[in-house]
């Protein structure tokens, strides 16, 4: 039996897939941000063991392809008896990947602050957490916003690799449709347009923030 696809059918299905791309991006970004914050704290902690752990974590996830990380999660976890769905594997893999990059971006922002900010707050008898909470993080946050939004574009595009483990997000939906309709150019053109529609507003936003924070100080 042969089903005829109208262009509207193609778009409707792609929108369905795009929804999952958006969901995956949001989850990766939010969870990745939370884990990234923990890794950041470990990375700039005074405890050497924590520092070493965070360094290793960042090196591993920055130094290996996202695709391999997904494979390891998707095929590795079942080996230790955990059955994972493509959806769970993709969310976990992207969270790990995102957290490593965000931790490293944010570390750069913390280290960009003058040493005198640490010394002055230390001299006022603030403890480490008080220094972070009241002096360091509020200032680091200001300079972190533009590169963080900029990186979110990478996360959106990164979700495409989840298609390889069979998760039906935008790219996977696109390749299924291309096979069914024999119109790869049209379908993948629309897929690309979908990513662009998600990413372009983000990069515009990042540019605007960058300008704003450059002017502010």
């Amino acid at each position: 039996m042969l089903v005829q696809f109208t262009t509207w059918d193609v778009i409707r299905n792609l929108l369905e897939g795009g929804k999952w791309t958006l969901a995956l991006s949001l989850i990766a970004f939010v969870l990745g941000g939370l884990v990234g914050l923990l890794i950041l704290f470990a990375r700039i902690a005074r405890n050497r063991a924590l520092q070493a752990f965070a360094k290793g974590y960042i090196e591993v996830f920055q130094g290996t392809p996202l695709l391999m990380q997904l494979f390891l999660v998707f095929f590795g976890l079942p080996l230790i008896g955990l059955d994972v769905s493509p959806w769970f594997a993709a969310a976990l893999g992207l969270t790990l990947f995102t957290s490593a990059y965000l931790a490293e971006i944010w570390r750069g922002c913390v280290e960009a602050l003058p040493k005198g900010q640490w010394e002055a707050s230390e001299s006022l008898a603030l403890n480490y957490l008080q220094q972070m909470r009241h002096v360091i993080l509020p200032q680091a946050l200001r300079i972190a916003i533009p590169p963080t939004v900029g990186f979110s574009v990478q996360v959106v595009k990164g979700t495409a690799v989840a298609s390889i483990i069979g998760f039906a997000e935008l790219t996977k939906t696109g390749s299924m449709l291309a096979n069914a309709t024999f119109q790869p150019l049209l379908v993948f053109g629309l897929v690309a347009a979908g990513y662009f529609a998600l990413c372009f507003p983000l990069s515009l936003f990042a540019k605007r923030l960058e300008k704003k924070f450059h002017v502010a100080r």
Partner: protein
């Protein structure tokens, strides 16, 4: 009993032996000027007194509380010792008032009303009561340094450390900061200052310490020491400074 007492203090930066056994006693109400060439260890010595540099050997006593080499928790010590920096180091994301209020609120857990009154009083003392709601970047260097003094005073320290606090200022702004320090000295605040302002050291100080190669090379009453240096190193240094 001395307010600040250092005994046999040593400090290394890697292979560089910066402090080579310093003994120093500072009494309540003393105004001590630390002078010496760059690299003589005077700034490091100052920074050991509030624990910004850990001492490798020896003992530090502030207001009766001892701090031995390698000891961890310094917050008790730091509540007794205020510090003012060459680069002001105000917190740029906070207003002037919030800069002064932060430590009393967070460290001493005073109420907001109490710390605000305290901050206004301290800012008034340095002549900047009207700048409470301004941000640091809106102030001149001299004003910023006076805010830094108010911020340190708000913790009601027993001793105030000043690390070349006029060196980053334009010449016309130096005197407004020195006037505040002079007033503090007159009120009996114990001050230890690394300075290049020799005339100020002679006028306000009652103790002069000349650091040379990580040791206290010569010390005494500033007027006497300046008028009649006993060591050729100090005579040289005074000559070099006055040539400028």
């Amino acid at each position: 009993m001395s307010l600040v007492k250092l005994t046999g203090v040593h400090k290394h930066f890697g292979t560089n032996h910066v402090l080579k056994g310093v003994d120093l006693a500072v009494e309540q109400g003393d105004v001590v000027a630390l002078i010496g060439r760059s690299g003589s260890g005077k700034s490091t010595l100052l920074r050991t007194i509030n624990g910004l540099e850990r001492i490798d050997e020896g003992e530090l006593l502030v207001d009766g509380a001892a701090l031995h080499a390698g000891q961890g928790d310094l917050r008790a010590l730091r509540q007794k010792v205020g510090m003012i920096f060459q680069q002001f180091n105000l917190f740029p994301h906070l207003t002037v008032g919030e800069n002064v209020m932060l430590a009393p609120t967070v460290v001493k857990r005073r109420s907001k009303a109490e710390t605000e009154a305290l901050a206004r009083e301290m800012l008034d003392k340095v002549g900047l009561a009207d700048k409470f709601a301004s941000y640091p970047e809106q102030l001149s260097g001299g004003q910023q340094q006076r805010v830094a003094i108010a911020r340190a005073l708000a913790m009601q320290p027993r001793v105030l450390l000043c690390d070349e606090i006029t060196s980053a200022l334009d010449p016309e702004l130096v005197s407004e900061v020195l006037a505040v320090v002079r007033q503090l000295a007159r009120e009996g605040m114990t001050l230890i200052m690394v300075t290049h302002e020799m005339r100020f050291a002679r006028e306000v100080g009652n103790k002069l310490i000349f650091m040379h190669h990580g040791r206290i090379h010569e010390s005494g009453d500033p007027r006497e020491v300046f008028a009649d240096p006993r060591t050729p190193e100090l005579a040289n240094f005074i000559g070099a400074v006055q040539a400028h």
